[in-house]
Assembly symmetry: C2
Homo-oligomer: 432 residues x 2
């Protein structure tokens, strides 16, 4: 074994995450050297605009607008892709691998959509792609799933893996703000984009779930197989009722494996207050994993930001340095994924929360209960204690029922003359 | 690279954890094979009594009472030490390393007291020791500290790393049981030993902290440098007052690095209710880590038990298999530890909780406040709302103060004629 004195890194992109990575390598250079025995240096960075002012010192780093100057540099062993997007980034990573370089990326969209393809290219090139930073910022998630829990059959992963929506829901819960107000505040604080649709509609979480589920269940996962629901319909009334019933509302990304296949979904969920996920507040993320041996484990921390995400990238870089020093090309085998069957949403079983407005007259609740009863759905919790202008608000939580049967009952209920409207429907998580 | 078809393992010990390990390797053999490309087999197990009935099928495993039969077997590459104790285990591990075998151990006492010595022997033998299972059962802690957070300067680690005491404190908190009753229940449920002293006095947590702190701060840590306090003095009254002030009481193991050195301690602590550690209940464990890049992260799960601990051992075995297949002898460098200075307890700064009984007469509180004032200690919270038979109970929480100054003030207060007794004193954790 011949340990390398110096290993050079080329950055693709020098935005928030690229700057964070550079800053960590500058600040903690000595500690990293002690752990690896190798000097790690970022020597080049691909940028769009050479003249732009940078928030971090890039002394010693050659900035360039020419991708080939980084990708073809024979002195560079590791390419760190932090530019985002899927078209150019995919091309650049492919070129880097074919040029014999190792790749570290924070690109969740790319890994969720083209991960298996890129990992296969890496394998052909006897190189590897590391993507700890693509999910959950600095929280170790990929490495624990790949390595620490490698002896387990994973039964389920459940996560709060979108900080924007968790911030919004926390503000709605703790400060009784409505959705629009909480969103505006999240935007003002930089936790939400000006166009928040990818976050609030659950798409960002679905991309991350695709990556986590493929590792947890050793299956190729297609984004199209992930059912998603947005948080925009949640009102402060729902949050208040949930509280009364012993729950907090969270946007959960859930992957489960059963005998019939995988169930993959992102939707608002009533989480029991004493569940570890219930206390994950504001911009924090957490992933709750159940394995057949380990039982329940949870990983918690900051899911975004320059330094947290940079922390994950630097961990990946250090692993690559180890691999280069030991002349390993690949780690745990993760590209031999079959594609496991997907359980259709209609067969999913859970408890449901329903809030509806009804005429405040005798027999209304009876007709609702009868409709549920006809589908063999029994009720777990019932609240009917608020009335305005002759309209009663009924809130109930069912026992376990399949989506198909539940929605069939709900159709009937919606057609009852005494029901004004179904205000909201959400799924309820079992106690941890 | 020539991948090995089969790798054989020898177990030292076939008790709870050994059986759990065997069971996982039997149940998840195929998944592990898919991930590693190698068949993993436990071929021999050292036991004390060949005739004892076993809870797990050990077909294909040769049981022996002769250590040499396992340690000198040329077909065995990995020795898994799950026998406990420090004398024989240390000898056996040393022999195994000298025989060219990799070692996986769950032995916290051994690693806390002789870890650096054994890791150095491993290095000389171009082998390595893996000890994920020695702390926190199945929760990934060692690997995250060594690898996932390797780019960070760790500022602090704070953990609930003893399940027995957390179970007792949770029962005292949620069910208002007193210490003796909660301990008896923990013993009945198998969460506490018949002699619970190592757990309730904080020694078990101190051993685990020694292992975690040495990795977090890259320093050799001596058990004798860890300050410990027991939980036996905590009464339901303390828990009730803490609740009223917004805290829950937890036994925390804390390691911090500052400019002046390391501070290492295990003591009951008032934890703010909204801190992520506050919601860790019953036998669950959690480690809260603060890094300069990653910010706050927490790892949560079951800290003990056959299968959780087995899960950590199997993860270590899989890493060894990877290393054998890739002909790596060592991982991250962890034996070049200097011994960092220890900050004396008297210089530690924190808030303090004090509960005392005083004569219910005018001027008492004034004299207490004056004693604190003379040492420039200001008070953050005060409760004085319970009286029995002319005795007032005063509870207060100070602002930040050094241990030295705090205890000087407390000495004065104890001598005041109006103070009956100081019922309890505990440290208070800052908000997360």
């Amino acid at each position: 074994m011949s340990k390398r004195q110096v290993i050079n890194i080329g950055l693709l992109g020098l935005g928030t995450v690229g700057s964070g990575t550079l800053q960590i390598i500058q600040n903690n250079h000595d500690e990293i050297y002690k752990k690896t025995g190798t000097q790690i240096r970022i020597t080049k960075a691909l940028v769009r605009d050479l003249s732009r002012a940078r928030s971090v010192s890039h002394e010693g780093v050659e900035l360039t607008t020419d991708p080939a100057a980084v990708l073809n540099d024979p002195d560079i062993d590791i390419i760190v892709e932090v530019m985002g997007g899927t078209t150019l980034a995919k091309d650049f990573i492919t070129t880097a691998l074919k040029n014999g370089k190792y790749v570290v990326t924070a690109n969740k969209d790319l890994m969720a959509q083209h991960g298996v393809e890129l990992l296969n290219i890496a394998k052909q090139c006897q190189r590897n792609i590391y993507y700890e930073a693509s999910v959950g910022g600095g929280i170790p998630l990929i490495r624990p799933l790949k390595h620490c829990l490698a002896g387990n059959k994973i039964k389920s992963v459940m996560g709060i893996i979108n900080g924007t929506t968790n911030y919004i829901l926390t503000q709605m819960t703790n400060e009784a703000k409505d959705f629009a107000e909480a969103l505006a505040e999240a935007q003002a604080k930089g936790f939400a984009e000006q166009d928040p649709s990818s976050d609030v509609e659950g798409k960002d979480a679905a991309f991350k779930l695709a990556i986590l589920a493929s590792l947890a269940f050793n299956s190729k996962v297609n984004i199209a197989d992930i059912y998603t629901e947005s948080i925009t319909e949640i009102s402060v009334r729902d949050i208040m009722y949930a509280e009364e019933l012993g729950f907090v509302i969270k946007l959960l990304a859930i992957g489960e494996e059963s005998n019939t296949g995988l169930s993959l979904r992102v939707h608002p969920t009533l989480v029991p207050k004493d569940h570890p996920l219930a206390s994950v507040q504001n911009e924090f993320n957490a992933l709750y994993v159940e394995g057949d041996a380990v039982g329940e484990v949870m990983f918690y921390g900051r899911g975004a930001g320059a330094l947290p995400t940079g922390s994950a990238i630097v961990a990946d870089i250090i692993e690559v340095v180890r691999n280069i020093n030991h002349e390993i090309e690949n780690g745990i085998i993760e590209t031999t994924f079959p594609e496991k069957p997907i359980v259709p949403m209609k067969d999913r079983i859970s408890r449901f929360y329903v809030r509806m407005k009804a005429k405040d007259e005798p027999g209304v609740f009876g007709s609702v209960a009868t409709a549920f009863g006809e589908e063999q759905i029994s009720l777990d919790m019932i609240l009917q204690n608020r009335r305005d202008y002759n309209v009663a608000e009924i809130v109930l939580v069912t026992h376990d029922v399949s989506e198909e049967r539940f929605y069939r009952a709900l159709d009937k209920i919606e057609k009852l003359g005494s029901i004004r409207n179904l205000s909201n429907v959400m799924r309820v998580l079992e106690r941890g």
